[in-house]
């Protein structure tokens, strides 16, 4: 019975999404802001702010030290400039590094205690915080079989996690899914062992900053030989103005386990650019498999390039164990600037990495995105399918590295990189780096660039579609291989997003 209710929730969500697509003309769907009293730390970043963030999260001493060390490193680093991105200099001291809804001062013990306005915000975003249903006393909801479309959600609002659903059911399976701030307190041995082990504190400018000031994020641990009974999902939302969001995600898939993880992002529409610098670390042990899917829809800025999110993200998976497997799927439609290269370290023998990406840029958006496949172990395999779509005056770059180390004997990579241009004022760029240091491995790279064809457009319109429907249909076809790699409910949302993102790109 509860299962049926869930399906209803799902249907409602889709309808709302579909409605929104229809009713909005070239506007950003998630552009409203929630009026909630916020508590801010003072603007800027220094060791005191770092300490304050740590203190607010009630962290143990070792964590505070870890952050301070990261901060000391960050101060010595320079912002990288190698990407094909052009944006005004970011004043890192003119940002808030910590903001949280006032009602969260005392952490809620259940969703009941969460500010209803927060929950309303997530509801508006189409996120079913379904634990409400369980808390509301739906009989037997806890014992529901783990099939169907159940998704456990961790929701992060500005800097703070506001609620994780289905925790008790996950616990039964031995799965830990909570906010990272909670994990630091409750599971310090796991956090200590794995945090920074894939993306070291010294990794890069933004990751180092994140290490110092991350305020929250999600933590996942899947015990050995466990198939996570449902999909896990984190929804990130930036609400407060001039506030950077620095979330940290740590996923550990122990031997022989499996998990599918979804990440969604939105932000309100604002004139000023906002900073987002996240770090995601994934550890995949022997015979384990992780699927990580992202639909990134941060505010892209308006049609004149004003405002939007600057998105600098470091995502990396370490396939430590033999026969381990990781699959990144991303749909990047938002952000004014995207700098993001979800990568795979293929350390274990016969480990596999896959990267499926759709990056859509319209108006003045810029994306420099791709992946790194680092083959260290023997018989490792990787596959890259990248679909870049550029419209308006946008610039879209695929940047990828495939590296076969001397010990990565008999390894294989296949890369397919397709770019689609809409109009004649946008750009598509492909920058593949290939390093092969043994003679038994094989690397294949295919790349195409095409334009949305006039004939195709006319054909669609003659059958009754308007220009925007036609473009959305053609682009969805172009990106199909990637959309198919997404979990069902994300695929639906992603298809609608393609339509929204490209509004105003033709005619």
């Amino acid at each position: 019975m509860a299962g049926l209710d869930e399906l209803n929730v799902k249907e409602g969500v889709e309808e709302e999404t579909v409605e929104a697509v229809k009713s909005l003309a070239g506007t950003y769907k998630y552009g409203w802001e929630t009026e909630i009293e916020m508590e801010y730390a003072p603007k800027g970043v220094n060791p005191d702010i770092v300490r304050l963030i740590s203190e607010k999260n009630d962290e143990p001493e070792w964590m505070t030290e870890w952050r301070l060390e990261a901060f000391a490193r960050w101060e010595k680093l320079d912002e990288p400039s190698w990407a094909l991105l052009n944006y005004p200099e970011i004043d890192f001291q003119d940002q808030y590094y910590y903001a949280r809804p006032k009602s969260m001062e005392e952490k809620p013990k259940s969703l009941d205690e969460v500010d209803p306005k927060l929950l309303a915000t997530y509801e508006k975003l189409g996120i079913p915080l379904k634990e409400q249903m369980i808390l509301a006393g739906v009989e037997g909801a806890e014992d529901m079989p783990a099939e169907g479309r159940k998704v456990a959600v961790d929701a992060v609002f500005d800097s703070v996690s506001v609620g994780t659903t289905f925790q008790s059911e996950l616990k039964k399976a031995g799965v830990i899914f909570c906010s990272i701030s909670e994990a630091i307190k409750e599971h310090p041995e796991l956090v200590k062992k794995y945090l920074g082990s894939v993306v070291p504190v010294s990794d890069n400018y933004y990751a180092t900053l994140n290490s110092a000031v991350f305020s929250d994020g999600s933590f996942v641990y899947i015990p050995p030989n466990t198939r996570c009974p449902m999909e896990l999902s984190t929804y990130f939302r930036i609400n407060a103005e001039n506030t950077g969001q620095f979330e940290r995600t740590l996923i550990i898939a122990d031997k022989g386990s499996y998990v599918s993880y979804l990440e969604g992002c939105t932000a309100p529409q604002r004139d000023t650019a906002q900073l987002h610098a996240a770090v995601v670390e994934i550890i995949v042990e022997e015979d384990a498999e992780v699927k990580y899917s992202t639909v990134q829809n941060w505010f892209p800025g308006d049609e004149n390039g004003k405002g939007g999110i600057y998105n600098f993200v470091t995502k990396r998976a370490d396939c430590r164990g033999d026969r381990s497997k990781v699959m990144w799927t991303q749909v990047e439609t938002g952000s004014a600037v995207t700098w993001k290269y979800p990568s795979c370290i293929l350390r274990g023998a016969e480990s596999q990495g896959e990267f499926y990406s759709i990056a859509i840029t319209n108006n003045y958006q810029q994306a420099d995105t791709g992946t790194k496949m680092v083959h260290l172990g023997r018989d490792t395999k990787s596959r890259i399918v990248s679909k870049g779509i550029s419209a308006g005056k946008a610039q879209n770059t695929y940047r990828g590295l495939v590296s076969m180390h001397p010990k990565a004997k008999n390894s294989r990579n296949y890369t397919q990189c397709d770019s689609l241009l809409i109009g004649d004022k946008c750009g598509a760029h492909t920058v593949p780096y290939i390093e092969v240091k043994n003679n038994s491995s094989r690397v294949e790279h295919e790349a195409t660039t095409s334009k949305v064809d006039e004939e195709q457009m006319f054909y669609c319109r003659q059958r009754g579609m308007d220009e925007e429907e036609a473009v959305a249909l053609i682009v969805n076809g172009f990106a199909k291989e990637v959309l198919q790699a997404l979990p069902m409910e994300f695929a639906m949302e992603a298809q609608q997003l393609v339509a929204i993102s490209l509004e105003g790109s033709v005619g």
């Binding site: 006319f458 054909y459 003659q462 059958r463 009754g464 249909l473 969805n476």
Partner: protein, 252 residues
Amino acid sequence: MLKINNLHVKLEEEDKQILKGVDLEVPAGKVHAIMGPNGSGKSTLSYVLSGRDGYEVTEGDATLDGEELLDMEPEERAAAGLFLAFQYPVEIPGVGNMTFLRTAVNAQRKARGEEEMSAADFLKFIRAKAKDLKIDADMLKRPVNVGFSGGEKKRNEILQMAMLEPKMCILDETDSGLDVDAMKLVSEGVNALRDEGRSFLVITHYQRLLDHIKPDVVHIMAAGRIVKSGGPELALEVEHNGYADILAEIDA
């Protein structure tokens, strides 16, 4: 139904006049055929009526049930009931044939202020229509026209026509590239759609298509104008004697 008055059309990019005063009227329920030598402007006429870019109307007009066609966007003409079966149907990689058709059907319904067709109704509808045209389930799932044979592409055009239920169907050399069996199948599909509320304009080089789709009126087009009109026997005359005699007769 369709009325074309003194239509003059030139290419947008160059100063080349293609249509030089076309007059044509296709009443409801009738099938008119247009024949003519290469370069006479037959395909241009179909493109201009359906609203393809690249042409400039310099004089004259065209109406569909009294509505001025040439002011409308291509999708508005489609929603008003105009359908063009393409001579070269276009491939759309990655888009399933069924998805394409459902999007088209619902786009037209929406434009006319009608309810969208539910997934279940649509499936029932398309399966019935596909069966008549010997289109199997596999072909419905494949990407639009990608890897289709010539015959499959043309059958697919007729399937779309059957699904969209237009008032005015223009068939642009639908017989080109078809073998005898495929032509028969396509013609049967077209004949099944003939009814008193629906008109056809069949553009073809050859009389043989008109053996299967029997026209009420045959027009001969040459140098951008309709130069002669008559009954089905006119098509036979062309078949036997070519266009030379007719053109000479007009010049004289």
